[in-house]
């Protein structure tokens, strides 16, 4: 006949750890997760306006360079190409932010970044749209930011 043993401290501790491990190991529900991302938008606005106010540069809110739309296109890119193209905008973003932190012609660097973003955007028009939608998309992709930054750099 088996004897029932009372749970000792040694046997309780691992089960607690296992519970935490299980809790951290499970997938979260994506439903309503957008509310947390909206809070992240608020954080982006807070940080970026503050840094821009003090240092005249943008550290978070970019103008399309880090948009992963370029990756999600229905193209025949290999996984490695996708990985590189996914990483490059982030590296570019970080390098340019560091470069912009120097007082020498920050507006010009912003202009270059913004222009390169527009080129990327122009080149990655979704192929599954109709001609009318594509034209509207192209028109709305054009922004006046590069011109604005170039003018402010020139002056």
């Amino acid at each position: 006949m088996e004897q029932l043993q009372s749970p000792t401290a040694d046997s309780v501790k691992p089960s607690k750890n296992r519970t935490i491990q299980n809790h951290l190991g499970e997938d979260v529900a994506v439903k309503n997760a957008d509310s947390l991302l909206l809070l992240c938008c608020l954080v982006s606005g807070l940080i970026d306006s503050t840094i821009y106010n003090g240092r005249n540069l943008s550290v978070m809110v970019t103008h399309g360079s880090s948009d992963a739309r370029t990756i999600d296109q229905p193209t025949a890119l290999s996984y490695r190409c996708k990985l590189v193209s996914r990483s490059l905008p982030l590296v570019q973003h970080m390098l340019l932010v560091s470069a912009c932190s120097t007082p020498s012609e920050p507006n010009l660097l912003k202009a270059i970044r913004s222009l390169s973003d527009q080129v990327v955007r122009w080149a990655t028009i979704p192929t599954n749209r109709t001609a009318g939608q594509s034209l509207w998309y192209r028109l709305s992709a054009l922004s006046w930011e590069p011109l604005f930054f170039l003018v402010s750099a020139a002056t």
């Binding site: 997938d27 503050t50 970080m94 560091s98």
Partner: protein, 157 residues
């Protein structure tokens, strides 16, 4: 290993909030000048420390939106959000019929409200660390929310 695992999201957002709080602490401690506005003529490489930390954590935030498959709110991009909003063929759909459009609009207003609030706080306080403490606190709150977030009950075989 699933990207939407609770542990992955909690650790990712914990790192992000740590980076913001470390930045705030660096400025608070006086390692980097936190007066606002400050446009120095000479190059001070210590200024790069908070910029690099904040920039790095912003990348983590964007990846978070991708792995949750809510790519319409990249959280760090304004132009593409507005562009997608304006070029949405279902722009004029009823309120509940187009969730992506609603998210884009709310995301844009989130950044706008944050920017206005951050600008005013830093202007009134004359320093940038107070906003960073606030932003770090909100990020920490998001981290705790991930810890308590309901689990996914749909299992894939």
């Amino acid at each position: 290993m699933s990207p939407i695992r609770r542990g992955t999201l909690v650790s990712s957002f914990l790192i992000q909030s740590t980076f913001i709080l470390v930045t705030a602490a660096i400025i608070e401690a006086g390692v980097v000048d936190g007066s606002s506005p400050r446009f120095a003529q000479d190059i001070d490489w210590r200024q790069v420390i908070p910029i690099a930390l904040l920039s790095f954590q912003s990348a983590g935030q964007m990846v978070g939106s991708r792995i949750l498959n809510i790519s319409e709110i990249p959280t760090v991009v304004v132009t593409s959000v507005l562009c997608d909003f304006a070029s949405d063929p279902r722009l004029t759909d009823p309120l509940r019929a187009n969730a992506k459009r609603n998210r884009r609009l709310l995301g844009f207003f989130g950044i706008l409200v944050g920017a206005v609030a951050g600008g005013w706080i830093s202007k009134c306080a004359g320093q940038i660390q107070s906003v960073l403490w606030l932003a770090g606190g909100i990020k920490l709150l998001i981290t705790v929310s991930w810890m308590l977030w309901p689990r996914n009950r749909i299992t894939t075989e």
